[in-house]
Amino acid sequence: MLKQCEGSHAVAEAVALCRPEVICAYPISPQTHIVEGLGEMVKSGELTDCEFINVESEFAAMSVAIGASAGGARAYTATASQGLLFMAEAVYNASGLGLPIVMTVANRAIGAPINIWNDHSDSLSQRDCGWIQLFAETNQEALDLHIQAFKLAEELSLPVMVCMDGFILTHAYERVDIPSQNQVDAFLPAYEPRQVLDPNEPVSIGAMVGPEAFMEVRYLAHAKQMQALERIPAHAAEFQRVFGRDSGGLIHTYCADGAETIVIAMGSVLGTIKDTVDEMRKPENGGHKIGVLGITCFRPFPIEAVAAALKQCKRFVVLEKSLAVGIGGIVATNVRMAATGMGLRGYTVVAGLGGRAITMKSLTALFDKAGRDELELLSFLDLDWKAVNKQLVREKQVRRSGPVAEAMLRDLGAVAARNY
């Protein structure tokens, strides 16, 4: 059924259709509306056979999800930013134990400086935690990916993180097609755990493992993620049969045939990139041979699919909402591994950190420069160099230069944050 609603509401409805049995919730912006929506559904009786547990922290949220999942329940939680960091130890345990928890991460920057706006720093800080990570481009895809996530998680006995851009998607009202319970039931079978804490058949989960077997257990986690590379496209195909929509999968390309420049990105910025590419491809705007590669599945990283998508291009531009301080791009590093030996020119562009708007105007200038190979290997979209240099000079001149964030705000004369 078509509906005009908030992204968070669409996700809450999707999760409810997946018949979760335990939902642990701790509020943090911009995720809160999702678990609030689910809480209302449990309270009103719309969502039955589900325990909604308000916990005291994100660490507790993931710990309760681990307990519930080990007890054989379909478990769900959601978080963002510092919340994800606070639960990090339990996040690793969930995957290490092979528990198929599904978690939404409403992507938000990580402090300090404290910032509630969107970028991908939170999810990408956990890229090696053993969870599968899927990134949604639209609210429809966010909704669809949650349904696919439960199936994937339970089939492989691995947790799945569905990442959606905080505010940009979670708080956006747009059209979504909400599936029927019958459709979801046809796609997602009842949870059949590989391991379960059952008093009638006692087992222990979470043994200490020494050097004699630790590497093997870790390798098996890697092998399972490699299996996901085959299961994800299969699930997307099955999803299309049941729901009639192309959603999910490992990657998506757009105008990539014959493109000399391929722009690579994840999440909602792909929409703005596609509009920019459409304009730049028009003959009156120079007829640029430029296409797009959207990465839906970041973990496991689809090395072969990315390499295949880049086979015919001359150069790629990775536009990412994350910064690995001290080296540059995170997504770009992964893409470069996929492109090893292909002889391509690759550019990393860090953009949109902490909610900085990514505009068609800036993207057009950026891609134009990339097409002429005039881009530096690592660049920062719309960085205010004047402000940066002023601070660098100050730090050279004065020992007690004071806190950086406060100095930036003072120089800007900013009284309140704004992003338009």
């Binding site: 005009q4 009202y173 747009e174 944050a417 704004r418």
Partner: protein
């Protein structure tokens, strides 16, 4: 594509207004995208929300920097925020006030523009009268249906029913309808004098 930017203050239902506008467009079978600009969410602080309406899927996610239309929910913002930043020449402007554009000091800015696209309505008073609360967002949507001509008043009513129920819904619908009528009359007069 019609791009609308709504300026107001925390507590005036700025974000809800953008959401309801998107629902109204959806009710007419169109694609719409509403989203807030999160900054200072405190009551009374300046707030901005955006709405795009189109006949095809909307992929663009940048904030609206060059709006076709502006709704200004609080005229005191005119002295504090650059509400008109990027507004396309000859755009639509609807301001919540009982004063005229000239009295607000905007006469020079909009000189030569289509006068029927520049309207004011005392939406806060209409909200107090019909709903009992000084929240001007819904009557302004009724007025916007009139001034922009892009959304039908019936669609605004449907959007109101999607967000509210009972007496609050009925009061808001009455306020929106009166605002629509006031703005229509204003437009007719402007055309008559033009």
């Amino acid at each position: 594509m019609l791009q609308v930017r709504i300026h107001g203050r925390g507590g005036q239902g700025v974000v809800s207004a953008a959401e309801m506008l998107s629902i109204a467009a959806f009710e007419e079978g169109r694609h719409a995208q509403a989203f807030p600009s999160f900054g200072s969410e405190r009551t009374g602080a300046p707030v901005v929300a955006f709405c795009r309406i189109d006949d095809k899927e909307i992929r663009l996610r940048e904030p609206i920097m060059e709006p076709d239309a502006l709704i200004i929910q609080d005229p005191t913002l005119l002295h504090q925020v650059d509400c008109f930043a990027g507004l396309k020449p000859d755009g639509y402007i609807l301001i919540n006030t009982s004063r005229s554009f000239e009295a607000l000091g905007l006469g020079g800015f909009v000189k030569g523009w289509h006068p029927e696209r520049l309207c004011t309505v005392a939406a806060t008073e209409l909200a107090i009268k019909h709903v009992g609360r000084p929240v001007p967002n819904v009557p302004l949507l009724g007025g916007f249906a009139a001034v922009s001509g892009h959304i039908r008043l019936e669609s605004v009513e449907k959007a109101i029913r999607a967000k509210f129920s009972g007496k609050v819904a009925e009061g808001n619908i009455a306020a929106a309808a009166q605002a629509y009528a006031i703005v229509r009359a204003e437009m007719m007069e402007a055309l008559h004098h033009a």
